[in-house]
Amino acid sequence: MPFTHIDSIDALKPICRKLRIEIIKMIGASGSGHPGGSLSEVELLTALYFAVLRHDPKNHAWADRDRFILSKGHGCPALYAVMAETGYIAHDVLGTLRKLGSPLQGHPDKRFFPALEANTGSLGQGISLGIGCALAAKLDKKDFHTFVMIGDGEIQEGQNWEAAMFASYHKVDNLTVIVDYNKLQLDGFLKDILDIKPLKEKFEAFGWNTVEIDGHDLAQVVPALKNARANTSGKPTCIIANTIKGKGVSFMENSPEWHGVAPKPDQVAAAVAELEAQEVK
């Protein structure tokens, strides 16, 4: 049975909060991982898995499922959390993140967790992989859509632009790229390292449909993803989602320190308390 979507934005909001708490707890328990870039993805992944993707958590190999590739593989705690919430794995598996034998490897690895679409972790390859899936769909006359999420720092990798050129030239319109535009990469702010601005114009110049949204506003995220999924314009779509790295945990927000460091037990407690106290409106 395909997953039954939740269409109410208000119903999705508490899910986002729950996922944030789980992300903090799982990275805290593992003692390593990437909280910042996981927290910035939460609304995007929640919208995808609960309201947009055609998928079946009980039948991950369903040939007609939509494909989702997390090109920024280090953000996988958020993906694991949303996959637990939609029923791919039991919630208690989240506690095994990065532990020996766990399906939840440090970066996505479908050898251990076959419901994942792709092994990622070396940044820059996801759009190309997604093109391959989208071309296969067209060859097989299947109507599944392929979504790829990339980081803004990741965009510095040249392969993205090889892929961007290819996708528009070959009219791969069953492909959508979501940029988690959180303005931060590993060593600091993009503006201080190698800025990618103006991003929308770059993708437009490469022949893509582009739309810029607030990546934490589900009322913008859900329709943008649904429109992209329905796209038949002959052009691939790029959704530039403005996000905040570390979103939801005040001491992590916009802080380069929290790219790849796990919170200590007291920090986990403080973050969880803060998230629990947040009003979901």
């Binding site: 990622t120 992989l129 093109i131 071309l135 296969a136 060859l139 392969q159 090889e162 290819f166």
Partner: protein
């Protein structure tokens, strides 16, 4: 392991280049298997993927000059059930696509096939930037990959079909120049099974690709001097035919390897490990020695860089002295 009788007076008839045989076999696959698709990165006329592209335009994509993108797109196609064959020059697909081959194909064990033409130095005049002398080493460094270096058109054609049947990532190197015909349509080839020529017991010459023809000539020359060599066409570098190597080491007691590749990490290294694991015997290695070649005719280069028959004969005599 299959054995064909050694030909004492060896005469080589030239056939087509292994890259051309690849193009033929790919087109055959296209006709028999609708799931086979192909990609190339602006070298399809040279790799001979063009034949498939012409016959099956809907199942072929040129990525332009973007090898990393091509490798990852092939992986994506394989993730969705296609059997992609992606080709370029060996040096470009392997060296520019290596991280993509590693993370996109090897690590998740994706069923994608990669073919590098213009391997070795026998491409001639274009020079070192176009010559791959490290592709076998790099491909062997991809866990789970099958690595193939066929010797003639029949071997190539058969192994292209075996690659399509094999489930998992594969790499095949092909060559630019026309190659000697060593086999016929009746010969069969299996991944990981060497073709053994002759049953000489003085030494074994283990070669791959273009070097097999030189090795067979060396075998004939040695025979005239009363030295009985057997030749193993080791068309599969990985998984290497350990049984055939163990038998050769045990029965001959001396081994020479010959490859159109750097001596670091290619056929010789693979054979040496298999030999030392079974019956350690003296070995000599014919190959490119820690350098890059230059522009010249293919024959001049094979001669200058020590890859022709006399060098194999010399290595054979050297190894016999150490027996």
């Amino acid at each position: 392991m299959s054995t064909t009788p050694a030909k004492p007076k060896f005469q080589l008839k030239m056939g087509m280049a292994t890259r051309e045989a690849y193009g033929q076999a790919l087109a055959e696959l296209g006709r028999s298997n609708p799931n086979v698709v192909a990609l190339d990165a602006d070298l399809m006329k040279s790799t001979f993927a063009a034949k498939f592209a012409k016959e099956f335009p809907d199942r072929f994509w040129s990525t332009g000059i973007a090898e990393a993108n091509m490798v990852s797109i092939a992986c994506g196609l394989a993730m969705c059930g296609k059997i992609p064959f992606a080709s370029s020059f060996a040096v470009f697909i392997m060296d520019k696509g290596y991280d993509q081959l590693r993370v996109g194909a090897a690590y998740p064990k994706v069923n994608a096939k990669f073919v590098g033409s213009h391997s070795g130095i026998s491409i001639g005049e274009d020079g070192p930037s176009q010559m791959s002398v490290e592709d076998l080493a790099l491909a062997c460094g991809l866990a789970g990959f099958v690595v193939l270096a066929p010797s003639d058109e029949f071997c190539t054609r058969a192994l292209v079909h075996r690659m399509a049947e094999h489930i998992g990532p594969c790499y095949m190197r092909t060559g630019r120049p026309k190659t000697a015909i060593l086999y016929g349509p009746e010969d069969t080839f299996e991944i990981g099974k060497a073709k053994v020529h002759g049953d000489g017991r003085d030494l074994a010459i283990i070669a791959c690709g273009n070097e097999v023809a030189y090795a067979l000539q060396a075998q004939a020359e040695l025979e005239e001097e009363g030295i009985h060599a057997r030749v193993l066409d080791m068309h599969t570098i990985k998984p290497i035919d350990e049984a055939a190597i163990a038998a050769a080491a045990k029965e001959c007691g001396a081994i020479v390897t010959a490859e159109e590749h750097l001596l670091d990490g290619g056929l010789g290294s693979q054979v040496a490990r298999a030999v030392t694991r079974s019956t350690p015997v003296p070995m000599e290695f014919v190959g490119i020695q820690n350098t890059y070649a230059e522009s010249a005719t293919p024959d001049q280069l094979m001669e200058k860089y020590g890859l022709t028959t006399p060098y194999i004969v010399k290595a054979a005599k050297a190894v016999l002295k150490r027996k």
